[in-house]
Symmetry: none
């Protein structure tokens, strides 16, 4: 309950502009109750991120189980994976609003936690691309790292854009449905990588 309120407020106003007093006012409990449940504002935030991180990674890992043997297979897999991610993102707007903002301005420990989440996502992706390369479906030339970065940021940025628009607006509503976007993105990446 407290965690849910905090997540929403963090997403809406940011970490520093969300006071503990705001969180408890919304939660309907006393300020001391907050400190009975959590050691500090920081620790509560870490707990929040841990939960989000775990459920996000569970989703991402689930999406990687398929094997691809043809170009179509591969694009389908990617599309499915992206769709899962988009769906998860849509159901966890607030969490993504925070993660995608890269944590600018919060405490070092919080920034580190956010970086950790993004890095975990990046690693999953890189594994996926590496697999495709080793299957001979993508050319091995060029800087693998850089191309993984292209793909990763396309995805990350596009999810943020889909959810919040360019202005990082929590109430933004996108005109594109998840399926279309996933397919389009999969295609963009695939051809972008293949050259």
């Amino acid at each position: 309950m407290i965690l849910a309120c905090a997540l929403r407020l963090f997403a809406t106003r940011g970490y520093h502009l969300t006071k503990v007093s705001d969180i408890v006012r919304e939660s309907g409990c006393a300020q001391a109750t907050f400190y009975w449940h959590f050691k500090s504002k920081l620790e509560m935030t870490m707990e929040l991120f841990d939960t989000g991180r775990q459920s996000m990674l569970a989703t991402v890992e689930r999406g990687f189980r398929q094997h691809a043997v043809s170009t179509d297979d591969m694009m389908n897999n990617t599309r499915g994976w992206l769709l899962d991610l988009l769906s998860f993102a849509r159901e966890n707007r607030y969490f993504f609003a925070i993660v995608l903002a890269k944590g600018y301005g919060a405490d070092p420990e919080i920034d580190a936690a956010i970086s950790g989440i993004r890095t975990a996502l990046f690693d999953a992706l890189r594994r996926n691309i590496g697999q495709a390369v080793s299957l001979g479906m993508l050319p091995a030339d060029g800087d693998i790292e850089a191309r993984a970065a292209f793909v990763y940021h396309t995805i990350e940025g596009t999810i943020g854009w889909w959810l919040f628009g360019l202005g990082h607006d929590l109430d933004h509503e996108s005109g594109i449905d998840a399926q279309t976007l996933a397919a389009s993105m999969a295609k963009y990446e695939f051809f972008g990588l293949r050259g």
Copy 2:
């Protein structure tokens, strides 16, 4: 002088963790002097962003002057434009560290200013893509808006990754030189868009 210190500190610690007292301590002037020069912390920040925004847009506009008549022309143009942007970014690390973080956690007015900067960049890009489409060099099918978003976020995210790595680390040093990255990115985008 004050502005330069502020920019560096904002980039390093974020807006809220940079106190006016920190800024003046680094600048070597008294706190009251700060308030003689600027009406408030917020106004100073806005001034900072205005300056950065203008010089960034100047760079971006300069890069768009060429006309393209062939695929190679187009990729060359894009590559040149990206190279200009990468160079500018490298020389304005601090400014980019702030803008790319999307302003999460600062005051609404600051977030809005950052959004404005990013939107201006996005618009320039969209004009560029539209031009290519109308020249028949890119297919007109699919959601133009979404594909502009793909490209934009590839660029934005990759610049951030190039400058600061995934962890948004101010001291990060990339292993890739600007030229290679620009060429690689241009190719990725072109083929990604063309399908």
Copy 3:
């Protein structure tokens, strides 16, 4: 159990730095249990002091029963009395650590309780000296009150010094045994008073 933990913690850290939560953590019971046993932190403390006071006074009174008819008798009596007190003090380190600190910084009621304990000790002493004076063993000239104070503070301070050293250190270990100290102190006082 709770009382024993509290006594130790009070002696170690002082009243204000010993939180109820500390006491119950050491006691192994819940905080609400504390408040089932005692009405408040203050009342528990008073109970603690009452117990200590009573057993200390019992010891002191016991030591005064003898009659003295010669100088040697008197010094022997005093020595025996001091030895009892030193032994009691050694077995009640924590209690003495609190009482000898004079309660600086605790609540008024606590300070008053501590003063009461010290005053009781002082009164016992003054009676003793008065008896010696009326037996003609000590000169009656000079300020009786002041000389009782000399003796009292010699004893009180020396016990504290013996138990805790100058630095009021709970873990201090003295190099002098109780017997030697009692004899030495008795002599010092007797000759000091006799002039």
Copy 4:
């Protein structure tokens, strides 16, 4: 100004019961002003103690300059020295109220500072006694350390008693004048030590 108020309040209520808000209310300044002058409540307290310690030690050292060649010389010297100390104590009631309470219940750093002050006084005394012993005016038998402790605590305790009575009452007024008390105390100690 702030320091003077703090000293008085510390002496009256103790460290923990003296809130920063109390200090500034009495000083007539804002709470933030307090924190402009001092880094924290603790640091302010340390500054307070440092000042007091220095001026006390100056007084004590000044009193030790004389040489003694006879019993009367010695007692006169001691009397003079004690008179200086008593006068200083009377003019620094609040400081002594704190030091003599031995700091029970304040923070470890504060307790340490208080111990340091008392130790400095003790050392001065021990030097004095050592001098008398080496001049043959006092017997060398017995535990020098213990006898220094007797003397020290007679003095310390008696000063406290003179200033505040047994109950450590700030408003206590003694019936004895400093001269009489110094003479009496000097005699008590001298004969006590000589045996």
